[in-house]
């Protein structure tokens, strides 16, 4: 009871925060810079979940929370929500991306070729103990004999031409009219825009868990990775008075396409495609998310229903609700207790079946 009843609760919470910050040590620009320079993948993950591309702010958020990632994401989201939406960037196709890595599992070789780019996929996961003994480790890549192209078409485009995937019409919605899940509530049935946006800002761990459940057997989908891509995207804006398009800069993006076993009309079966993209380089998240994008069309197991997937992979909401159970709940508890004592007191105890204990427990939550 002390943490509620004690007078001076205000002083206590201030000191508790002070203690957390004191243990982290001095916050400085230097510390923020080191995080930004040395942990790009962590920065990318946090920026993706916060849906704001600002490496310096992400590094500050990580520094300020000591790497408590849900807190970092919340800091960035709370900052983002104070910012006005000034302009809408032009939509991009995969061909427009400056792609540094693009691999496909569906074919041995694909138009444009397999480009490994930077990856730990084939590394031996061995700790470099010599670093702890004071040695420094640096790596230098050899230049390729010929430069690879800077952009690659989507494999799905080739599959559509070949009649393996259904033809689609490009959505002509103007950017300012695309539903924005950061400005509107997520409602069900969900629009595709909200679905892809929610996956893009979803919790990496949560997306992985539900995507994995689908891959492992709870989904009807056996995925083949059509392509996974790491790239730089130009943020193209239109000048409000001259109407001239210009680049506001580049952002790191990742995207993934998966295809599944054929379905549809037996006379003309087609593959089905799942897609996902996010800010920053985060392969595991986009692969799992594209799996969920496809599974969510099926609506069988809870992990295939949009409401289950999108609500429960929201990092700020999920983590916030989880930790809120630390708050005092003694009023609700007292209310249930009163009902339970009444039931006991009336001498109904012997009549109450064993299973009812479970129901009571549920009611007490």
């Amino acid at each position: 009871m002390a943490y509620v009843a004690a007078r001076g609760g205000e002083q206590a919470i201030l000191e508790a925060e002070n203690l957390y910050r004191e243990l982290l040590g001095t916050l400085s620009l230097e510390r923020v810079k080191i995080i930004e320079e040395t942990m790009p993948y962590l920065i990318d993950r946090v920026m993706g979940e916060a849906s704001i591309y600002a490496p310096e702010l992400a590094a500050l958020a990580i520094a300020q929370t000591g790497g408590e990632l849900y807190e970092s994401v919340l800091l960035l989201r709370a900052y983002r929500s104070t910012q006005p939406r000034l302009a809408y960037a032009a939509p991009l196709e995969q061909d427009d991306l400056k792609t540094v890595r693009r691999v496909s599992a569906a074919f041995k070789d694909i138009p444009g070729g397999q480009v490994l780019g930077p990856t730990l996929d084939y590394s031996h996961r061995v700790l470099r103990m010599e670093v702890l003994r004071g040695e420094t480790v640096t790596h230098q890549t050899k230049a390729a004999p010929q430069a690879s192209p800077s952009s690659f078409p989507a494999l799905a485009a080739w599959q559509r031409q070949a009649g393996l995937l259904p033809e689609i019409q490009a959505d002509q919605t103007v950017p300012s009219e695309i539903p924005d899940v950061t400005r509107e509530p997520l409602l069900f049935p969900v629009s595709r825009a909200h679905k892809l946006q929610s996956l893009a800002r979803g919790d990496t761990g949560g997306i992985l868990a539900l995507g994995y459940a689908n891959m492992r057997g709870y989904g009807a989908v056996h995925p083949t990775i059509n392509e996974v891509r790491l790239a730089y995207a130009e943020v193209l804006l239109t000048h409000p008075s001259t109407g001239v398009q210009f680049s506001a800069g580049q952002v790191r993006v990742s995207s993934s396409e998966i295809v599944t076993n054929f379905a549809g009309n037996p006379q003309d079966p087609r593959l089905e495609l799942g897609f996902s993209a996010t800010l920053g380089w985060n392969e595991v998240k986009t692969i799992a998310a594209s799996m969920l994008d496809l599974s969510m069309e099926r609506s069988g197991h809870p992990s295939q229903t949009p409401e289950f997937v999108l609500y429960h992979t929201e990092p700020v909401e999920a983590s916030g609700f989880c930790i809120h159970f630390k708050l005092p709940h003694y009023v609700t508890f007292q209310s249930s207790l009163e009902a339970m004592r009444d039931v006991k007191g009336k001498g109904h105890r012997e009549k109450v079946k064993e299973e009812s204990a479970v129901a009571l427990e549920e009611a007490m939550l």
Binding site: G9, G320, F333, S335
Partner: protein
């Protein structure tokens, strides 16, 4: 003329933190909620500098309504000095420069989690309840799309069945807090996890109640002088928590909602859950009328059946 002369100095955030577009959205959604008592209105629910599930829904409503001349009271479980209430109050005072109070009669805005003050709120006062789960049907229908259809059709059979099953198993309705109510004879609403003791206070109340769930992105309202009836069967009256024999060990008050404080000898002490009310008794501050009198009679005669 220079551009810098035309602009205002940079501020870290707008007055009361939320930008004007967010506040406008909330005001519109609140108006809609007032027009359709008990109906859950979806809203964008922007992130605020506090964790989801910690009162962000209530906070967004408070920040939208607060003005420099407001007087704000924040309580959690009835207590003004609960750590999270203290934190929310500190934040509101910091970003809105509003006056704060622990006296329910003095406040123009009361943000609360899990309690309604014992003293009757009056016209012009606004009670903002934090809501973890706005959907009263969640226990019988997990899909919010399907639940919305049930509300549209006023198809509440499953709720009645749930209460009936409790009757069959336990010989009484065992629902603790969050007791479902019918608002304006139309929508079933969760009153938020207030105890059953507090639920009647919403009925034909003089004040406006706004209930807001930040994480679930829904808000709903009980306008002044609206019918609010807990679900009850003709032959099974609604039961508030029994507080007979409980005496507040600090103030001697009876027939108010109490905190039970377990003692080492196996017994329990009781204290007023409404700490602001308790403080007024101890400092001999004039008290407002209460919803329940010192004999435990509710102020609307006949509302609570025996």
């Amino acid at each position: 003329m220079r551009l810098s002369e035309l602009t205002k100095p940079v501020q870290d955030h707008a007055y009361a933190f939320l930008d004007e577009a967010s506040k406008r959205e909330l005001r519109r959604k609140i108006l809609k909620g007032i027009c359709i008592p008990g109906y859950q209105v979806p809203y964008a629910s922007r992130e605020v500098p506090m964790a989801r599930g910690w009162g962000t829904g209530g906070l967004q409503v408070t920040l939208t309504l607060v003005a420099p001349h407001s007087t704000v009271k924040v309580i959690d479980q009835g207590a003004d000095d609960s750590v999270n209430a203290a934190n929310i109050r500190r934040f509101i005072a910091r970003v809105a420069a509003a006056k704060t109070t622990t006296d329910a009669c003095e406040a123009t805005l009361i943000q609360s989690r899990h309690r309604i003050p014992e003293e009757r709120l009056l016209e012009g006062q606004v009670l903002i309840l934090q809501v973890p789960e706005p959907e009263p049907l969640r226990g019988v229908e997990t899909s919010s799309a399907a639940a919305a259809e049930l509300h549209a059709d006023a198809d509440y059979g499953m709720m009645w069945l749930k209460l009936y099953e409790q009757m069959v198993r336990y010989k009484r309705i065992i629902q603790g807090a969050s007791y479902p109510v019918l608002v304006g004879n139309r929508y079933i609403m969760s009153p938020s996890p207030i105890p059953r003791w507090d639920v009647p206070m919403l009925h034909q109340a003089a004040h406006l109640t706004i209930l807001s769930a930040g994480r679930e992105k829904r808000l709903y309202c009980v306008p002044p002088y609206t019918e609010v009836r807990p679900l009850e069967f003709d032959d099974v009256p609604y039961q508030i928590e029994n507080v007979d024999g409980m005496v507040c060990f600090r103030t001697g008050a009876t027939h108010k909602f109490m905190n039970e404080l377990p003692q080492e000898d196996g017994s329990s002490l009781f204290e007023l859950s409404d700490s602001g009310y308790g403080e007024k008794i101890l400092t001999e501050t004039p008290l407002g009328e209460t919803y329940y009198d010192s004999e435990g009679r509710f102020y609307h005669d006949g509302y609570l059946r025996q």
